[in-house]
């Protein structure tokens, strides 16, 4: 199964806010720590390493080659 690239969340705005809330009052360093732990937890949950690698590549690509518009 490839990485889902179509919307898959029931309450996208709510989850987006929850992600930001989780970082509330954290320093940049602490936020980095939180993000790292989140990646580890979610990667283990997903389990399929190909999907995680695909997500990593997509995330990296969006930094290396930002879409022009």
């Amino acid at each position: 199964m490839p990485l889902k690239r179509e919307p898959n969340l029931k309450d996208p705005d709510g989850l987006y806010a929850a992600i930001l809330d989780a970082h509330a009052d954290l320093s940049e360093r602490e936020s980095m720590a939180l993000n790292a732990r989140l990646v580890l937890l979610l990667a283990n949950h997903i389990g399929e390493e190909a999907i995680v690698r695909e997500a990593l590549a997509l995330a990296r690509q969006s930094i290396d080659e930002p879409a022009n518009n």
């Binding site: 360093r29 980095m32 720590a33 993000n35 790292a36 732990r37 580890l40 937890l41």
Partner: protein, 557 residues
């Protein structure tokens, strides 16, 4: 036992000294460390004489390599030394991992029973060498030349002309085959102008052996960020004779001269083990490490083994163990080539199999190093995240990497591997290329029963093919590559080789790696597989498969 470190090895003028015409010898091994000695012993077990040259006159003062893995012990069993090493050493299989002041978890390296050897035995390298030297002397085939040093190498039509410096002056001899087992600072490597490729790490580590009587279990303890070495790591290991190995990560900026002063080390020891700990120092040293290897291990008739061929971080105990496995891989191939049973190109498979092993070991030790000594803020964020989660979350424990401990490499891509007609994914631990798994058998242990040569084994709970077997036995005993045939019906052995329900037929190489396996007995197929595993079919394969396979990947560099 007297302190083996006080034994000195006298220089003795050899028969080659002063000869006008250099005499030719089949094998010269440079370096009487674990790798050179194991190779000499293995060759002697196969009937070959060798000369071992070493410039030292004593065993190393420090313990150096201490963790000998199950596979190494099995190789030493094959050479008759497994028992003496295991009984002198300290057996352990439990590791504990600490983070700050908290114990995160522990692991058992060998959860399965019915193995002769444990996952690890800790024993100082000087003992390992001592037992090998004693055994070498007993063979009558190994000419140990102490306090001699290779100072010149010159290729000849049938090998290498070597100039050797002794306390009496220089002499020369010709070696058909030279094995450079002369360690990380190999002079042979330097003299051939060969460069290492890979990474060098800045972090410095303080290592010391202390002698103390302490009621403490024989376990590997590893600390991340302990109160006594804030922000860094530390390691504690037990060795023979109440000697303990302590290892402290110190960082890149540590002042070597200050750190190795015994008073300063003593402060660290007491901070780790308690202010009232009574101990004495056996050895103090500092090291940095490299993760790198030679592009090729075979250079014509000069072959590199052990640290002379590859260097890696110590986390995972892969240096000494992989060196012994280099020797294990090389000895039987040299034997077949020297007896003209196999073409010289068989030694290219040493290159590709042991390069694949070195790369596996380098990958594992480099990953451990990146976890133990993270570079940069984001590496540290992930590392500390893993450790923080590991206190409560099993998922994170699997990510904690304090060293992935040495296991035998499977030669999955080897051109020597023959057929595997097991169903896909069936019994992968005994696939072609894998080291044989030991198991109890009626007569003792399977690996002892396999012995030294090519062996075909029928694993079957009940076998009804006695006539076929007898025919196969006769045929294979007389082939170009003689193959001994065994029948094993013991339950655990059959389970480990995927033969609980249906019989399975295996061909093992002389280094006890699986060469091929079948569901049906076919003497002709066994014979072909033995020829292939001894390199007799190598040329064909190269032409057929072009750029595929590990020989070609090894030769890219």
């Amino acid at each position: 036992m007297t302190d083996v470190r006080s034994i000195s090895f006298p220089y003795r003028r050899s028969a080659d000294y002063g000869r006008r015409q250099p005499q030719t010898h089949p094998i010269v091994i440079v370096g009487a460390g674990p790798v050179g000695l194991v190779l000499a012993l293995d060759l002697a077990a196969k009937g070959h004489r060798s000369i071992v040259i070493d410039k030292k006159s004593n065993l190393a003062a420090g313990s150096r390599a201490i963790c000998w893995a199950k596979r190494t012990l099995e190789i030493m069993d094959r050479l008759g030394l497994g028992e003496v090493l295991a009984s002198k050493g300290v057996t352990w299989q439990t590791g504990k991992v600490f983070f700050a002041t908290r114990r995160l978890f522990e692991f058992d390296l060998l959860p399965e029973s019915a193995h002769r050897r444990p996952a690890f035995v800790n024993l100082q390298q000087y003992y390992f060498e001592h037992f090998c030297i004693e055994a070498a002397t007993g063979t009558g085939l190994i000419d140990l030349r102490w306090q001699e040093e290779v100072v010149g190498l010159e290729p000849t039509s049938d090998g290498t002309l070597i100039q050797i410096r002794t306390p009496d002056g220089d002499y020369r001899l010709v070696a058909n085959w030279v094995i450079a087992a002369d360690g990380a600072r190999s002079s042979i490597r330097r003299r051939l102008g060969l460069r290492f490729e890979g990474r060098v790490f800045d972090d410095q580590f303080l290592i010391c052996d202390i002698k103390m009587r302490m009621e403490r279990p024989a376990e590997r303890w590893f600390w991340f960020d302990p109160p006594f070495n804030r922000g860094r790591s530390a390691l504690l290991h037990k060795q023979a004779d109440d000697v303990w190995r302590l290892d402290f990560q110190l960082g890149a900026a540590a002042d070597r001269d200050e750190e190795i002063k015994p008073d300063n080390v003593a402060r660290r020891v007491r901070a780790m083990l308690g202010a009232d700990t009574a101990f004495g120092f056996e050895w103090i040293s500092m090291y940095r490490f490299q993760s790198r290897r030679l592009a090729r291990f075979r250079h014509g008739r000069v072959l590199f083994a052990g640290d002379a061929a590859h260097q890696m971080s110590p986390f995972g105990a892969r240096g000494g163990n992989s060196g012994v496995q280099d020797a294990d891989n090389l000895a039987w191939k040299l034997d077949l080539v020297l007896r003209r049973r196999a073409p010289e190109s068989l030694l290219d498979s040493y290159d590709c199999e042991r390069i694949a092993a070195a790369d596996e070991n380098l990958l594992n030790t480099t990953r451990s190093t990146d976890f133990i000594a993270p570079k940069g803020a984001i590496s540290r964020a992930f590392r500390d995240g893993v450790l923080a989660l590991a206190a409560t979350e099993p998922l994170a424990r699997r990510l904690v990497n304090s060293g992935r401990l040495s296991v035998a490499t499977s030669y999955d891509e080897s051109p020597l591997n023959g057929p595997d007609d097991f169903a896909a994914g069936e019994c992968p631990s005994s696939r072609p290329g894998a080291a044989a798994l030991d198991a109890p058998v009626a007569a003792g242990w399977l690996l002892d029963a396999l012995g030294q040569g090519f062996v075909g084994v029928c694993f079957a709970r009940q076998h009804a093919t006695a006539d076929d077997l007898a025919r196969a036995k006769r045929r294979l005993a007389e082939g170009a590559i003689p193959v001994k045939i065994l029948v094993v019906s013991d339950e655990i052995a059959c389970r480990r080789y995927g033969a609980e329900r249906a019989p399975a037929y295996y061909l093992f190489r002389p280094d006890q790696h699986v060469a091929a396996r079948w569901r049906r007995l076919d003497a002709a197929a066994l014979e072909r597989a033995a020829e292939r595993a001894s390199g007799c079919a190598l040329g064909d394969r190269h032409e057929r498969e072009g750029s595929r396979g590990c020989l070609s990947s090894a030769s890219q560099t």
